[in-house]
């Protein structure tokens, strides 16, 4: 199915696998790209050499376009930004801030730039800087979250900018894709559903938690420090919430409490001390499948629903 997004990125289906810190590596990214979507490698807080290695591994496993997600708060952001330009990575998505200062560098490298935005003002600002499209991500999603929901954010961003808009947050099947199109988006980004892809190298304990999750299994913590995250309820999240609500606990202690928790979940599968980032749609994710099965199932359902409907996507 062709949309503005598939044409922009040269992919078969308008489906992006979102960057996921500690999780989205060359294995998952290449599998999604081979399936006709856009796979993304997460640069998270890693240094340039680590990310370059993943890029090369990904290139060895697919000849299709793929992307790198750059966390703008990373201490290594400058070197990683430079490296993806040198490597001529086809697509960059950015999270946690405003990528204005890198736009020129990436454009000169021929890289397509898709910042994740959580408000219309940020969408307008990055459009003016010359990015190719925006990913409007609602707070249903896993990982760092904004306040606005996908339902409210996407149409407002669509109205605010002239570039293509990708919807993210709470999308897990073909119905979600059709809903995104109805709101004016021309593609979707999914994270939570791809957590349980066979090619996703995250710990087994992580996949089990996502598969077992129901609609009300996630919660948000971290508002007090200004970077709220959504994750599956467990002893870590409950303890964090308690500390956060206790005004006698200084911010530094809270900060310290969170250190290493993502790694503990993703790599070690530590069910008690890990932070298992996942979105509200986890309740609907109930089977481990290959990335190709996920992409084709989602798109077949969407296309069947849209049969006979003529939409300008």
């Amino acid at each position: 199915m062709q949309t503005k997004l598939t044409r922009l990125l040269g992919i078969r289906y308008p489906v992006i696998q979102g960057g996921m810190a500690w999780i989205a590596d060359a294995s998952l990214a290449s599998a999604v790209s081979n399936a006709g979507g856009l796979g993304i490698i997460s640069a998270m807080n890693a240094g340039a050499d680590f990310v370059r290695e993943e890029i090369r591994k990904c290139r060895a496993m697919t000849d299709k376009p793929f992307g790198v997600n750059i966390m703008l708060l990373s201490p290594h952001v400058e070197e990683v930004a430079q490296m993806v330009a040198e490597e001529k990575v086809p697509v960059v998505t950015t999270g946690a801030g405003n990528p204005l200062r890198f736009v020129k560098l990436w454009k000169e490298a021929g890289t397509r730039i898709l910042p994740v935005v959580a408000s219309t003002a940020l969408a307008k600002m990055v459009e003016r800087a010359g990015v190719d499209a925006v990913i409007a991500e609602g707070g249903e999603s896993g990982g760092h979250v904004g306040d606005l929901t996908t339902m409210a954010l996407v149409p407002q961003v669509v109205d605010a900018v002239h570039i293509p808009v990708v919807a993210a947050g709470g999308i897990g099947d073909g119905r979600g894709v059709v809903a995104a199109f109805a709101l004016g988006a021309c593609g979707v980004q999914m994270g939570t559903r791809f957590l349980v892809a066979k090619e996703c190298t995250v710990s087994d304990a992580y996949k089990k938690k996502v598969l077992a999750a129901k609609d009300i299994s996630t919660m948000v913590t971290g508002r007090r420090l200004g970077h709220p995250v959504r994750a599956i309820k467990n002893s870590y999240m409950n303890a964090y919430a308690k500390l956060e609500a206790d005004s006698n606990v200084p911010d530094e202690e809270l900060e310290k409490f969170g250190v290493g928790s993502l790694r503990k979940a993703a790599k070690d599968g530590n069910a008690e001390e890990g932070c298992f980032l996942a979105g509200q749609i986890a309740g609907m994710v109930s089977r481990e499948q290959t990335a190709a099965e996920i992409v084709s199932e989602v798109m077949e359902q969407a296309e069947a629903m849209m049969e006979g409907v003529k939409w300008d996507v």
């Binding site: 801030g97 405003n98 204005l100 200062r101 959580a118 408000s119 003002a121 940020l122 307008k124 600002m125 904004g146 200004g226």
Partner: protein, 75 residues
């Protein structure tokens, strides 16, 4: 309308209540989150048809007013 008045209008709208601001007010005291700040900058830039640059740091209201006035003068 002076720049201070216009800025006050934008900041109050963003806070959802009337707040007192003077040139000495520091943005830290006002506790805007990062999306608020993007919104404020965008509103200023659109209102004055200027660009405040990519590395804008919000410190005091007075400094921001100076930057706005400078950008307007250089238009």
């Amino acid at each position: 309308m002076t720049t201070l008045e216009k800025l006050k209008e934008i900041l109050c709208e963003c806070k959802g209540e009337d707040i007192d601001i003077t040139p000495e007010t520091n943005f830290d005291e006002l506790e805007f989150d990062s999306l608020d700040k993007v919104d404020i900058v965008m509103q200023i830039e659109e209102a004055y048809d200027i660009s405040l640059g990519e590395n804008l740091q919000l410190s005091t209201v007075g400094e921001l007013i100076a930057k706005i006035d400078e950008a307007v003068a250089n238009k």
